[in-house]
């Protein structure tokens, strides 16, 4: 019997050696993408994934490219714990040189330490929490999209201008929601708006009747919501069930087609704000949309697709320039100044944060996210709930 | 002299049914008492009350003059009463030795530190217990002693009975309660088992036994004295021949009006 076992051992050993022999082509370079591919905000994640993929495809199609790129995609489900696992996996894999990472702030903030620990250069493509770049000074971490600070300024400015005085705040209790609550409250206080009640809710809470029943008693003119599409949809729907008439004032977290699909007509009149110009108004917006539609992806790029494309393109530029080496890429990204991109000039400050000043205001009109200025609400043709 | 076990007007009901009614019963040291009566006459209930599985609703129980009426099963075991069950309740997946050791609980050192850290001391205790168990089981069936480390699951009915009785005897109790040892066995098996029980008795002369049995042959053969129960009441008491002749008893058994 021992002979037989030895034979088995021999077979195994053989397979083992075959496996160990490294078989990687010289010109192949791996780059990564992490985003929420499943769960409530998967639409944004898939849009980002496709956009990053588009950047890679265009580069591989480009004859002048030095390397052939392979995109490694991981799912963070918009859950911090899953994101940390995914990030660890990606960072631990040595031949992944750099990555475009995270739509959800809760996941981005949870993973920065991992990227720092393993020295993987990343460019955040969607998460808006300031702390992601500003809490630490990690050379590995960069961000092409803006932070939530400016959008809350604009938000408070618009609503006070429209004459709203009393606000109730609902925010999810992840760092994303907490951040929005903090910055919006500050911005509103400056403009004399009054917050009648603040409610923290679970990121996957189902039933909000308790909070909304209390809010109903407080009778605010506006319900500000700092959170993402899934619970945004639930809260808006349950507002209606409890007969609450108030403006539903959201953040960049609900700027997605999924929000409108989830609510149908109920979405009408919802406000939301996003940093960066709308795709069609971007310098490279037309080019991007053409290429994107040419690829026939089965999801739209969504609100942050252009940023994901820009982030990945930036990474590829660096690798072309300094070669597939994490350290060199980090050094190169450190001095990105007025780099041209489809979202305009990219300039990283000493925290790796791109400065995006322009904020776009959106309102849902006839089942579409319409830029406020072009909407019938701005022209006064339609009125928001309880608008004077 | 004080009786070993003494029950005074012991009472237990289930719903409306009287399982034990005002039962008075005495067991003298060293005797073998037969507890007989038709099905549902309260024999097993008596055992369950004595061993503390059921609480007596009224009356008292005392062992060598100390009250044990409200005592829990483990207290009663430590006081020196152990039993077998009508339906064998061995731990089937465990070895013969393990099953016997379950009965040896009070003579084994149960300290955490001793068990986990003092492996040498434990080994000595283990080997001593092994010898004791082996000695005991050889009284029954030498060949069984060779199978000490095999699972009980694979054993025959009579072997299981033997193991169960060993489990009850290994702690050298003052009082042994046998609940229908002959249940589920052939006539010959029963006979051998009784022989073995008598042998054990010969080895430990001051062992007292109460036996519940349907096999009158068994009762006649091994008991010194019998108590007959019917509907939870004692209807006769005395040597087997005497109670067997008692008309009340015959009525209870044969339903003769």
């Amino acid at each position: 019997m021992t002979n037989a076992l030895r034979a088995a051992a021999a077979i195994l050993a053989a397979i083992w050696f075959v496996a160990v022999v490294p078989a990687e082509a010289r010109d192949k370079v791996k780059v990564g993408f992490i985003g929420p591919l499943t769960g409530g905000v998967s639409a944004n994640g898939l849009g980002g994934r496709n956009s990053a993929d588009l950047a890679v495809r265009l580069r591989n199609a480009d004859a002048k490219a030095k390397y052939e790129y392979e995109l490694v995609v991981l799912d963070d489900e918009c859950k911090p714990n899953v994101a940390v696992q995914a990030a660890t996996k990606m960072a631990a894999e040595k031949d992944i040189i750099a990555a475009a990472t995270h739509y959800c702030s809760s996941t981005a903030i949870a993973t920065v330490d991992v990227y720092h620990k393993f020295g993987l250069p990343v460019v955040v493509w969607g998460a808006v929490l300031p702390d992601i770049t500003y809490r630490n000074k990690y050379p590995e971490v960069h961000r092409v999209n803006g932070t939530m600070i400016n959008q809350n300024e604009t938000n408070a400015e618009l609503l006070t201008r429209l004459g709203y005085k009393t606000f109730a705040v609902i925010h999810d209790t992840t760092d994303y929601g907490k951040g929005h609550n903090e910055y919006f409250s500050a911005a509103l206080a400056k403009r004399g708006g009054k917050i009648v009640g603040t409610f923290g809710v679970g990121a996957d809470q189902q039933d909000f009747t308790a909070e909304l029943t209390q809010i109903k008693a407080l009778n605010p003119e506006v319900i500000y919501f700092g959170g993402l599409t899934p619970i945004g949809v639930r809260i808006r729907a349950q507002m209606d069930k409890l007969g609450i008439k108030a403006v539903f004032d959201g953040t960049s977290g609900i700027v997605s087609d999924a929000y409108i699909q989830g609510l149908g007509p109920l979405a009408e009149g919802t406000l939301a704000f996003r940093e960066g110009a709308p795709v069609e108004k971007l310098p490279g917006g037309k080019f991007f949309m053409e290429k994107y539609t040419a690829q026939k992806y089965d999801n739209p790029p969504e609100a942050y697709g252009a940023f994901a494309f820009a982030a990945m393109d930036l990474i590829l530029d660096s690798i072309e320039k300094v070669g597939p080496d994490r350290r060199k890429v980090i050094d190169d990204l450190a001095n990105v100044k007025n780099r041209d991109s489809i979202i305009g000039k990219i300039t990283f400050d000493d925290h790796g944060q791109n400065t995006v000043s322009v904020i776009t205001k959106y309102v849902v009109q006839d089942g579409k996210w319409v830029v406020w200025e072009d909407s019938e609400y701005a022209s006064g043709k339609r009125k928001l709930p309880r608008q004077k | 002299m004080t009786p070993l076990l003494e029950a005074r007007s012991l009472t237990r009901r289930f719903g409306g049914v009287v399982a034990l009614g005002q039962l008075d019963l005495e067991v003298a040291p060293n005797e073998i008492l037969g507890l007989i009566g038709p099905n549902g006459s309260g024999k097993t209930t008596f055992f369950n009350v004595v061993t503390g599985i059921y609480r007596a609703e009224a009356g008292t129980l005392s062992l060598e003059g100390n009250d044990i009426t409200r005592a829990s099963p483990r207290v009663i075991y430590h006081a020196g009463i152990s039993r077998t069950f009508q339906r064998s309740r061995l731990a089937l997946p465990l070895s013969v030795f393990d099953n016997i050791m379950i009965g040896n609980h009070k003579r084994l050192n149960q300290g955490l530190w001793f068990n986990l850290m003092k492996r040498n001391a434990f080994k000595r205790e283990f080997e001593a217990s092994y010898r004791a168990a082996r000695a005991l089981i050889e009284v029954f069936e030498p060949w069984l002693a060779e199978r000490m480390f095999e699972p009980v699951a694979g054993m025959t009915m009579i072997d299981r009975r033997r193991i169960e009785i060993c489990r009850a005897l290994i702690s050298q109790p003052k009082l042994l309660l046998l609940d229908e040892p002959s249940a589920g066995m052939t006539h010959d098996e029963t006979k051998t088992l009784m022989d073995e029980i008598l042998q054990v008795r010969a080895h430990s002369p001051n062992l007292t036994i109460i036996i519940v049995e349907h096999e009158m042959g068994v009762i006649e053969r091994i008991t010194d004295r019998c108590v007959v129960l019917n509907f939870g009441l004692k209807i006769a008491e005395g040597p087997y021949r005497q109670v067997a002749a008692d008309p009340q008893v015959q009525e209870a058994y044969l339903g003769v009006a």
């Binding site: 499943t38 189902q206 308790a210 008693a217 639930r234 007969g243 699909q261 989830g262 609510l263 | -």
Partner: protein, 306 residues
Amino acid sequence: MDIGLLAQYIMNGLMVGMMYALVAVGFTLFFGVLDVIQFAHGDVLTVGAFTALMTFVGIRTAGVHSGSIALLAMVIVAIFATAGLGMLIARYLVLPLRAAPALNTLLITLMLGTVLRESVRLFYPQGANPKPFPALLPANSINFGNFNLRLDNAIMLAAGAAVIVGVEFLFNRTKLGLAIRAVAQDEETARTMGINFVAIVLVAFAIGSGLAAFAGVMNGFYYNEINFGMGLYLGVVGFAAAIIGGLGSIYGAILGGFLFAALQTIGTVALPFASAYKDVFAFAVIIIFMAWRPTGLIREKISERV
């Protein structure tokens, strides 16, 4: 507190309580006939809800646009499909394990729950995302101060109540109910009475699972959204409710369902902080309750043969 608010809270409580009760009745039924806990019950509910959704999509694609027809079809298809699923579970997973220790049944159904849950997540188109559930019931509503009574909620409450009354009737007024209760009382006697044990078990599982489907659809209409994980939570709550009531007792289960909802509502109203604490509160109470009444309010007799 403002009376209108109070009414609102009570209404919210009644709605969820109704769902809990419907789930709990299933648990108690299964335990009644087989002395087992069917832990996949919650996920059976999920399957029910998704079946209803599929039916809706099917009907729409078939070009039927009448809301009432869609509604009817959804409820019926969901209930029957789920009832069938319940029977399959009973026949191929629960009954075969009768000889084995109760723990194994508990585990196998727990694992089956995972299988159902994951299957919905993986094999329903984009099943990982919460699915919008159509609002087919009339949404008109009347306001009494802070209390907003919606017609659809009223209808659902009424329907739920009707179902529960129906179940009650089935159990206490029909031969079938008698048979089920007989089996629950004592299998052996039931057999000798010439009752087909297996058939009764299957029927009981069918009924229980059908109720779960109903609760699932109700949940869908109430929140206008369903997701693959909804059953796990509802299942555990239903189980808890059934236990509070005392397994094996229909009334106990219904009582338990509303008690649990009451607990949560009290939690939200009484506790100063986030309403999310209501679950911490409710489950803490359950655990304490278990220490106080290890076998529930309406005690289940434990007969130990020695």
